[in-house]
Amino acid sequence: MNRSSSWAHEAIAVFAKDWLLELRTRVALGAVVLFAVTSVVASGFALAPPSGVPAEVKAALLWVVIFFAAVAGLSRVFVVEEETRTADALRLAVSSTGVFAGKLAFNAVLMWTLCAITVPLYLLLLEAPLRNASLLVIVVLLGSTALACATTAVGAIVAKATMRGALFGVLSFPVALPPLLVVIHATKAAWLSDNAWRVAAGDLQVLSGFMLVIVPASVLVFEHIWSE
């Protein structure tokens, strides 16, 4: 029997376990995808013909749909361990960093899956303009990862609180708003600008910087929350 436990090994184990649970129960995936697809289809019908809707509004609407779909599913990754009383067994087996990294990876993949379904559907139904497809892919990838970081961070903080729902909403506002505003601006650039990469360069830097700050800060805070 060989033993080699680092936080990276622990994170991979937590990630694999969470996906196995998700494939077995389909709780988060069902909630997230159902919410997003319903919202996009409803918007497509409500805004018909979509050609009259400004690109700014379309960009904002896309990310509002993605954000609220994310909130519906991603915030529960830590809470579910407390509610099913598996948190103590997890605490004894895995370090707080391993748990946070595993849950963050799970949420990021869930967000990418959500975007892979929502964004093409949105482009199709709302006839969103597309000047720079490669930039849009990068923006969606960075934006969804940043939102996964934000919701995971807030989800970790509120996991042990009694008024989780209300607290999640209050804390999400200041944490998720900056990346949300930036990603809407970058999406608009990918849709409209001739020199889109130059227009969106600052936005991509802000998104990357946001993740570089929020993830280590969340790991530090989570260590204290998770241990009690």
Binding site: M1, R3, H9, V14, L21, R24, D88, L92, A93, S95
Partner: protein, 206 residues
């Protein structure tokens, strides 16, 4: 003397309610030790503090190996615990639960080895069934396996015999006896049979 757990004036207050006050003890290996006391006296809280799942409001718990203090990570790796409020992943099968806890603890155990572990508690025929379909006694046996999988020197058992039949109770006794031969077993219980599994360590609410 290799392993030692030292409780120094441990106290715990929840909100304004004092659950534990000024608990001091030295637990040494090898041996089995019993924490007893009436319901609500703080047995489970004390065991959770020893496991590192709760931080004491006062005092401290030290894990020592050959007189050297262990880090938090080493302490976590040294402990296996079974408690009524510690659940397994119910949608996953018995084998998947064991596989997860083995990987999480950095153990490279093959499925064939994990099935041998399940054989020890007569759960091999149910290896591929979700834990949600298990009886409470079967879950208790599987919980004990997950606690023992990484061969921890310290085994903490909170009311280990609850929901177990005669065969299950015998398995617990056998496990305690074997483990106490080389490591530390701490049992929190009120059960008259389990009180005899080890030396009296602390009687709470006395």
């Amino acid at each position: 003397m290799k392993w030692q757990i030292v409780l120094r004036r441990v106290g715990k207050v929840f909100d304004e309610r004092t659950v534990l006050r000024d608990i001091s003890a030295t637990i040494t290996a090898p041996g089995a030790w019993v924490i007893s006391g009436p319901n609500g006296s703080g047995k489970s809280t004390l065991l959770r503090i020893i496991a590192g799942l709760l931080t004491p409001t006062e005092g401290e718990v030290l894990y020592l190996y050959n007189g050297e203090r262990l880090t938090a990570r080493q302490q976590r790796q040294a402990v296996g615990m079974v408690a009524p409020d510690m659940a397994l992943y119910r949608p996953l099968t018995a084998l998947e639960n064991l596989r997860f806890f083995a990987r999480a603890r950095g153990l490279s155990l093959r499925d064939s080895e994990l099935l041998e572990w399940l054989e020890k508690v007569q759960l091999r025929p149910r290896a591929h069934d979700p834990v949600a379909t298990f009886s409470t006694g079967m879950v208790q046996r599987l919980k004990l396996l997950t606690a023992l999988l990484h061969r921890p020197p310290v085994l903490l058992l909170d009311e280990p015999g609850s929901n177990l039949d005669e065969a299950g109770a015998r398995f617990i006794y056998q496990t305690v006896k074997e483990h106490a031969g080389h490591g530390i077993v701490v049992i929190a219980t009120n059960d008259t049979r389990e009180l005899g599994y080890g030396e009296p360590l602390i009687q709470l609410g006395a």
